[in-house]
């Protein structure tokens, strides 16, 4: 029935079957665009001049900064899905924040690892207990806790609702991370791209950074939709297995 599955408004996406159809159609495109953007971004990254002070290590920025942005955006996506779970009881919202948690943990880990690698030549140390670093580390721990909580429960619906509550309570950390560099003046530099009086970063570095940021964002959404699709399939397989077991029990 292709007509009945046509998507006319956003809430139609709540139907998992429609979502699967849409995902199958747009995933190859998104993956392709992501690959192209990564190719352009990496080319620009290596073609750009090194910083006069930092030399080659400035190129770590093109991975570190987008990953750090993504680690916060992923949590915001999870918080939006958590509201969807608690308010509208969308089954897709459950799937969405469950699928996003490992991705967020991965991006946070990338941001922490690249930041550490960058910190060694620039600050002379792998790690400092600076406000930004500490709050991002706390974010990483929260992602891991949420994954652990989701895995600890058998009933996916209940696990989704309960972890949605925790996601919303943990959302207080996101503004703390965002403004930590403004509130506490510590080693990590303050925001230099997104600010009211325009970016203070040179154009030479801005363009590769922006393209890498878009590439990372698309990568996240590609992986997120793919993970959601896998989760829906996993639930269908387990539901059918349960049904098969019940049928087998009846026949015997």
């Amino acid at each position: 029935m292709p007509e009945s599955l046509a998507i006319t408004k956003f809430s139609d996406l709540a139907n998992p079957t429609r979502f699967l159809g849409l995902a199958a159609r747009i995933l190859p495109w998104m993956a392709g665009i992501t690959a192209i953007l990564f190719a352009i971004g990496l080319y620009l990254t290596f073609a750009s001049e090194g910083d006069y002070q930092q030399g080659m290590t400035v190129r770590i920025m093109y991975v570190h900064v987008p990953a750090a942005w993504l680690s916060m955006m992923c949590y915001s996506v999870m918080a939006a899905s958590a509201i969807g779970t608690l308010v509208w009881r969308h089954p897709l919202a459950d799937v969405s924040h469950k699928a996003a948690a490992p991705l967020g943990a991965a991006f946070t880990l990338i941001a922490l690892a690249t930041g550490s690698l960058w910190g060694k030549p620039m600050w002379g140390t792998w790690w400092v207990w600076d406000a930004r670093l500490t709050s991002v580390f706390v974010l990483f721990l929260m992602y891991l806790g949420l994954i652990a909580l989701n895995r600890a429960m058998d009933d996916p619906g209940k696990a989704a609702r309960v972890s949605a509550v925790l996601i919303l309570v943990g959302f207080v950390n996101i503004p703390i991370i965002k403004f930590s560099v403004d509130w506490w003046n510590t080693l990590h530099q303050p925001a230099s791209v997104i600010r009211l009086d325009g970016p203070t970063i040179d154009k030479e570095f801005l363009w590769p950074l922006l393209i890498m940021a878009i590439a990372f964002t698309l990568l996240f959404f590609t992986l997120h939709i793919a993970a959601m699709r896998n989760e829906i399939w996993r639930r269908r397989v387990s539901a059918q297995r349960r049904m098969a077991a019940r049928m087998a029990g009846k026949e015997a």
Binding site: L86, V138, L166
Partner: protein
């Protein structure tokens, strides 16, 4: 509500309640530190407030998983969910009872441990005051974790893992206020007032979150 408060208090003080276990754990944690860092009294007095705070944080986590678990086991959680009072209020009262049973003994025990740590009178007083203000926040944050993990058969460790990251701001401002009271240039009031603000903030967020989680985890 008063009856609920008294009931929870009695349960926590009597045998098997674990209120005294928390204090014992607190003392043990603090007593173990000198074995680790050595019996240097100057060093101990410098890190004393931080040690006492960390000990209090860990022992506050210890009793959290029992907050709603025991009620669930004997069925009274379902009665609490079904009664006419708003669930948020019930949770708030349960938090208060839990704090009176588990948090307040920690605050009372802290001066003694401050003496063990060779802290000055001012530092002991400041630590006790910050603990008095800060431990309710730990209970309120912990209520969310306890409510989330109430359906898990062995949720104890998971509660600690989920709650600790959220409790970090409390620890930061509690310790910095304690230090500010001792060291001259830093003023005592700003971190202390932020600590009060955190406690009030979580006094609102905590019961709402916990009530939401309890409703959703009911079968």
């Amino acid at each position: 509500m008063i009856a609920l408060l008294l009931r929870d208090l009695k349960l926590s003080v009597r045998a098997g309640g674990g209120a005294l276990i928390g204090v014992l754990f607190f003392m043990t944690v603090v007593a173990v530190i000198p074995f680790g860092v050595g019996p240097d009294l100057n060093l101990l007095s410098r890190i004393g407030p931080a040690i006492v705070w960390i000990g209090a944080l860990l022992s506050a986590l210890l009793g959290l998983d029992r907050m709603f678990q025991t009620d669930r086991e004997d069925g009274s959680l379902d009665l609490l969910l079904m009664q006419e009072h708003p669930l948020v209020l019930t949770v708030l009262v349960k938090c208060l009872a839990h704090w009176l049973g588990n948090g307040l003994p920690l605050v009372i025990a802290s001066p003694l441990l401050g003496l063990f740590m060779n802290m000055s009178e001012v530092a002991i007083g400041a630590t006790m005051l910050t603990l008095l203000v800060g431990t309710p926040a730990l209970t309120f944050i912990g209520a969310v974790g306890a409510a989330v993990a109430v359906v898990l058969p062995r949720g104890g460790l998971l509660v600690s893992i989920l709650v600790l990251p959220l409790a970090i701001p409390v620890l930061i401002f509690g310790v910095s206020a304690s230090y500010a009271a001792v060291e001259d240039p830093a003023p005592f009031m700003p971190p202390f007032l932020i600590l009060v603000a955190i406690t009030m903030f979580f006094a609102v967020i905590g019961p709402i979150g916990a009530a939401l989680a309890l409703r959703n985890s009911a079968d």
